[in-house]
Subunit: 454 residues, 2 copies
């Protein structure tokens, strides 16, 4: 391993130059004008896989931006690792807030600045450089490696989601490895072993054909805002628990081991509150803030509207009101089942005086890799060896639908080995990536692929 | 009386020509470009009072549109009647929906069409023509009469409200007579003996300094929409009764006599529902729809907003949400007391996690003339004599703050003797006034002023 690590240290400037080349390609998936740039980026990656000695590599066209697939066999009987990443990046606005131009990568203060540095070109290249190092120095890989890079992660992974189920065989593997998330703090390795799922609804109520005068009609016909407020309020009790029958039935309780993990995490409440500007923590009784925002399901209104919202007083009795409401789901809540429970509850609890329309919007499955999963443990061990510090285990409150989809379609563990930092401005101006994490990332990947062979 | 009535029948075409002259003056109080038109209208009325023989008459300038005051003494010891009306009219948009131009009064189908015909120039002129008739034929009035016409009723009566308390002596009277409302149906005389009051609030909640990601923060910090919904929902119970402590303490219960009156009214629920497009009646348990919308207080949200209301799904955890909420008040609820109870309730029931701002908007006092009031009974008797049908007694759900203010400042009964019809498009295109009601109105006024002298 020493020899491999030495090569990384020696070649790091070239690796960075290659990263810069990749970063200069303006692969903004949301921008139709950048369609060619996205195609060029996919081709660059396929070419680069070939250049570093990966046996098979190709660009796969889709209705959207192309996929890149690669494969290099390992020894007979060795496991197969599918490495996922995405080459598309977020738009760059507001441009004036960038210290240096987003597509002219620049190194300063031990960081590389540019759009896509941490999300996800820098993290993606880590594994290519690890594979290159092994193929160069050892002429072979300890495991079979498949690569899958997409160009639509920032716009919903539509093409990949559609393509995935029909290509199970091509993607057949033992472990999925994803570096598209963050570590808990600089120098503190961590693995994110869970993501919440999401279901999202719009609820529209109508109680009259047009707005009415609140003097002439007030008290005699239903008010859709009052009705909607009652409906929404009735979905939570005084302990901030969701009251929809069956909502918690399948929720995987936080285990003793997880409790111990939560106890190891830096106390995040103060930081969370400071960053949000909230007066105080607020949520489900009986759980810490860290647990509430990662391991417990939620029910949050995302938007509400109805009646008059301008300056002053208008005595209108509105005809219509609407609500966007979503639930973050946790293992093992079935999104379809919870969606049905929600719809049933809303239908049952809406008075007949209101005409009801429920619209289900896009959602996503939760994801969890069991803490006992050997691939996870080996990932943690690799991180610990490279960073010289105990790896922490975290769960995230957000949703990455494509990760959950891959886990569900391929039915294999997904290891989220993030080398980014939450402070690195992903999606914002002055996005950057820590150079030490880039270099340590390559070493961790080298070590990890070897460990998976054992 | 026969001679007086005969004069009205004989002169009705001239009376209508005078009404047309008044209607041609474009006294839209809301339109700054019509300031001169309003002043001209006030002067026309003052001149007309003089022309018909009213002893004293003058225009009183205000910060807004001028008032018109008039006085003609009756026999010593006779009561004084203050006749209120307003010469300003609503804007005319949308102009294209008018069959004939709003300021070119036209007669067709037994109605006079034009802006201000029923609200309130036509109704106002009724009393002037009654007074003219008496002065012409009898040379005197049976009672002392004061006139008070304002030019800002359609924009909130600001100038009159301010002027009122300092001019109690000038306005000293025994009865206030107002014809600015409607009768229950054509040919069915009615007197409106009550109006609801109004208090109106805006409630703003903030739980964070900016919108948050519902994945990263959801479940850990308060959601202002959920909090607002709980707050609003908690203000009503399952019987649609307001739960704010003390809210109903002073509510004047519906008397047996009123119950009997409600029973005489045409069943309005079906008509109300049809005109509103509501599925069904909905309101406080234990009361009929007619009672709910006139004699019972309400609590209605007039507007709500917060978070994302566009197309699709945005997983935002909003930082702010707001609510407009108003209460229609009934006798003997004190608006100040109820406002204080409301504020106190909101403050007590808003969790500390939300920063709260309560803004009180303009409101108005309720009004009621006791059914036992002789001036009311004489009004009913006059209507019955002219219309040949029993007069019904109604209460209205809306608020006319200036009526309540006059009742409170002058401490005298106000008789709302309306000759308009609800179908006459006040405030809308093709506003009109029934010619039969105009003519019968003059006769009723003649009879009423004589009856008040008895």
């Amino acid at each position: 391993m020493e020899k491999l690590f030495g090569f990384v240290d020696q070649q790091i400037d070239r690796f960075l130059d290659e990263l810069k080349t990749l970063l200069r390609l303006e692969s903004i998936s949301a921008d139709p004008a950048k369609k060619t740039a996205c195609a060029t980026t996919a081709q660059w990656l396929a070419d680069h896989l070939k250049a570093i000695g990966v046996r098979e590599s190709r660009v796969i066209p889709t209705a959207g931006h192309p996929l890149v697939y690669g494969f290099h066999p390992g020894p007979a009987g060795a496991p197969t690792v599918l490495i996922y990443g995405h080459y598309d990046v977020q738009p760059v606005d507001p441009l004036e807030l960038w210290t240096t131009p987003p597509f002219e990568p620049t190194i300063r203060d031990g960081k590389i600045f540019g759009r896509g540095t941490t999300d996800d070109k820098g993290q993606l290249l880590i594994h290519l450089k690890a594979v290159e190092t092994m193929l160069k120095l050892e002429g072979k890989l300890p495991v079979s490696v498949k690569f899958l890079f997409e160009g639509e992660e920032e716009v919903g992974s539509e093409a990949l989601t559609a393509w995935l189920p029909g290509n199970k065989e091509l993607l057949a593997c033992d472990i999925v490895l994803v570096s598209d998330s963050s570590m808990i703090a600089k120098g503190q390795p961590s693995i994110n072993y869970g993501l919440r799922g999401l279901i999202y609804f719009q609820v529209d109520l109508e109680t009259a054909t047009g707005d009415l005068h609140s003097g002439s009609f007030g008290g005699g016909v239903a008010n859709p805002i009052n009705v909607l407020a009652e409906l929404l309020a009735s979905m939570k009790d005084e302990n901030n628990r969701v009251t929809i029958p069956g909502f918690y039935d399948d929720v995987l309780e936080i285990t003793a081991e997880e409790q111990a993990n939560y106890a190891l995490l830096p106390e995040g409440t103060a930081e969370l509150l400071a960053s949000s500007g909230a007066e105080m923590a607020y949520g489900e009784a009986g759980f810490t803030t860290a647990q509430r925002i990662s391991a417990r399901p939620t029910l949050d209104a995302n938007g509400i509207w109805g009646g008059f919202s301008g300056e002053g007083a208008k005595t209108v009795l509105p005809a219509r009101a609407g609500l966007k409401v979503s639930m973050r789901l946790v293992p093992n809540q079935d999104p379809k089942k919870i969606a049905a429970l929600f719809k049933d509850y809303v239908e049952k609890h809406t008075p007949k005086a209101a005409r009801l329309k429920i619209t289900e919007m896009h959602g996503g499955r939760w994801f969890m890799c069991p803490l006992t999963e050997p691939a996870l443990r080996k990932g943690a061990a690799s991180l610990e060896e490279v960073y010289g510090k105990q790896c922490l285990f975290t769960r995230e409150g957000g949703s990455i639908p494509i990760v959950a989809d891959m886990a569900a379609v391929l039915e294999k563990p997904v290891v989220l080995m993030g080398f980014g930092l939450n402070s690195e401005q992903a999606h914002a101006p002055n996005e950057h990536f820590d150079l030490e994490n880039f270099q340590r990332g390559i070493k961790t990947s080298l070590l990890y692929l070897h460990k998976l062979a054992q």
